[in-house]
């Protein structure tokens, strides 16, 4: 291992970033060659070059923007609602034990049920399209926010609360100035889990019962056996997921900077 590291090429390879770039390049390179090696037609397994060309064609033809906007709107709303409602319920459950216990059966149900199974019901209740997509994405995303906020609030060290009391902080001040910042890292971790679950919810919802969105375009093209188009939209969804995850990671690191400084 050390001998490899002393070699100039080895040193270049030991830089994480260049290795990662190389990894992505290798992955797409292998994929590009695979259909050719196996003799598969591009409507069975399209190589990345075909997928990118298809995606560009779709964008130029104006078939992407509208659906991307719908997906983004559903995603943003679902995640926002999950954060607000999840944090509120979690705060309450963290502070009031009886409420925590009362909430538990419902949280367990939401956690262990494959929520797609109730999707036909959701459609029945709120109608096909935007509403039901929003609802399923919200239900998927809200659970980790509730659970993490509850644990975060419970774990706020008791001396902090006592100090707050000694300085005559009222309930609201205590919540805003002590409990919320104290549970912040766990709350953010909950929202990070929610970012992935909300995306799953949105895409599945759109695939099952919607007439707009990236998931809808996947289902629509798959029904017509247009594999390159399906992969083009999959690529968009992967990109969406990666961008959201990276952005949230950066935001989280920024918001938690005070912690590192405090240490």
């Amino acid at each position: 291992m050390n001998a490899v590291l002393e070699h100039p090429v080895g040193r270049a390879l030991s830089s994480d970033r260049s290795l990662k770039v190389l990894g992505v390049a290798l992955f797409f390179g292998a994929w590009e060659l695979l259909p050719w090696v196996l003799g598969l037609d591009s409507f069975v397994l399209p190589p990345p070059s075909v997928i990118v060309v298809t995606l560009v064609n779709e964008i130029v033809a104006g078939r992407v923007t509208e659906h991307l906007l719908v997906t983004m709107a559903e995603y943003g709303l679902a995640l926002g609602l999950a954060a607000v409602i999840g944090i509120s319920l979690g705060m309450l459950a963290g502070r009031v034990r009886v409420f925590d216990y009362a909430l538990e059966p419902f949280v367990w149900f939401l956690y262990s049920t494959p929520l797609t199974a109730i999707y036909p019901l959701l459609i029945l209740w709120v109608g096909l399209g935007f509403n039901s997509v929003l609802l399923i994405a919200f239900l998927l995303a809200v659970v980790p926010v509730i659970v993490n906020t509850t644990v975060g609030v419970k774990n706020v060290p008791e001396p902090y609360l006592r100090v707050g009391h000694s300085f005559m902080a009222d309930r609201w001040q205590l919540l805003r100035k002590v409990v919320l910042p104290g549970s912040f890292p766990l709350v953010l971790a909950g929202i990070r889990l929610a970012t992935g679950r909300a995306l799953t919810g949105v895409v599945i919802g759109e695939m099952f019962g919607a007439n707009a969105g990236l998931g809808f375009r996947i289902a629509e093209n798959a029904a017509r056996i247009r594999v390159p188009e399906v992969f083009a939209y999959l690529l968009l969804i992967v990109a969406f997921g990666v961008v959201v995850t990276q952005a949230f990671g950066a935001l989280e690191a920024r918001l938690l900077r005070y912690q590192v400084r405090a240490r």
Binding site: L199, L234, V244
Partner: protein
């Protein structure tokens, strides 16, 4: 979340609360010590409200069904023979896909976790596939592998694979390096280090992966079957959904989620057992 270790933030008496009526406060405080009671009461009152709502016509029974209707549908499904083939289909897909997924993920995870260069090479691709909703690829799997078992097994495999993979990699990476150095300084061969240091060190994390992977596997199999299939629990659910049989649908949902809940509980019990030897 165990009851005994929880800090009670409300403990320090606030002056204005001390004057509050003692009776209500005492009952409230006692409820705080009875998690099981509160949970049961909460779930039961939800069911009661649902029943009353549907009996008074406040909730339209066609849309929301009712607890008694769900129970009746359950009795009907269990006494009939319609459900059994669906259970068998789903069970087969789940077991085969999950089993293959676990084995593949643990093997690949050890390689990616142990060899830093290979691990870093694969990292962006693994992470990108991990954060994307993998169910979106299901329509392609149907085109490739058909409407039957094949496409579901692959879907379950993918759901399981990435969950177990991520956890195995982090488990292997997090094995205490001083333990490996200690083994090396005693001239332990590679195979010994693998068997006696790496595997036991990574097992708790792998178990977490097995648990999370199983819940992914259930979601994958049900969703895939609901999307396109010839038989299976998801198929049955979507058939009842299209027929607006809310009672049977809700019963099946409860059945699947109880199964998922019990399986996950079982796996976390094993998980705790296998990691109990570590100092916390």
């Amino acid at each position: 979340m165990s009851g005994s270790t929880v800090i009670t933030p409300t403990a320090p008496p606030v002056p204005d609360q001390a004057a509050a009526p003692a009776m209500g406060a005492r009952v409230w405080a006692q409820l705080g010590e009875r998690p099981r009671l509160v949970r049961t009461a909460s779930a039961l009152s939800f069911i009661a409200a649902w029943q009353v709502g549907s009996m008074t016509g406040f909730l339209d029974e066609r849309f929301y069904s009712s607890p008694t209707a769900v129970a009746a549908a359950g009795a009907e499904l269990f006494t009939g023979t319609d459900m059994l083939p669906h259970v068998v289909t789903t069970g087969t897909e789940l077991l085969v896909g999950y089993g293959l997924g676990v084995v593949a993920a643990v093997l690949v995870g050890f390689v990616l976790g142990y060899y830093r260069v290979i691990g870093t090479l694969a990292d962006p691709v693994v992470m990108a596939l991990y954060v994307t909703p993998r169910l979106a690829i299901y329509p392609v799997l149907v085109i490739w592998f058909g409407l039957g078992l094949g496409s579901k097994i692959v879907m379950v495999f993918l759901g399981t694979f990435f969950m177990v993979l991520i956890n195995t990699i982090s488990g292997v990476k997090d094995v205490d390096p001083s333990l490996i150095r200690a083994a090396r300084s005693f001239m332990a061969p590679r195979s010994f280090i693998l068997r006696k240091v790496m595997i036991p060190g990574a097992i708790p994390s792998i178990m977490t992966g097995l648990r999370q992977g199983f819940s992914q596997a259930i979601i994958a199999v049900i969703t895939a079957e609901m999307f396109v299939s010839l038989s299976g629990m998801g198929n049955l659910i979507s058939t009842y959904g299209q027929a607006m049989r809310t009672d049977a649908l809700l019963f099946l949902v409860l059945l699947v989620s109880s199964f998922a809940y019990l399986a996950i509980r079982g796996l976390s019990a094993v998980e705790r057992r296998l990691s109990s030897w570590r100092p916390s």
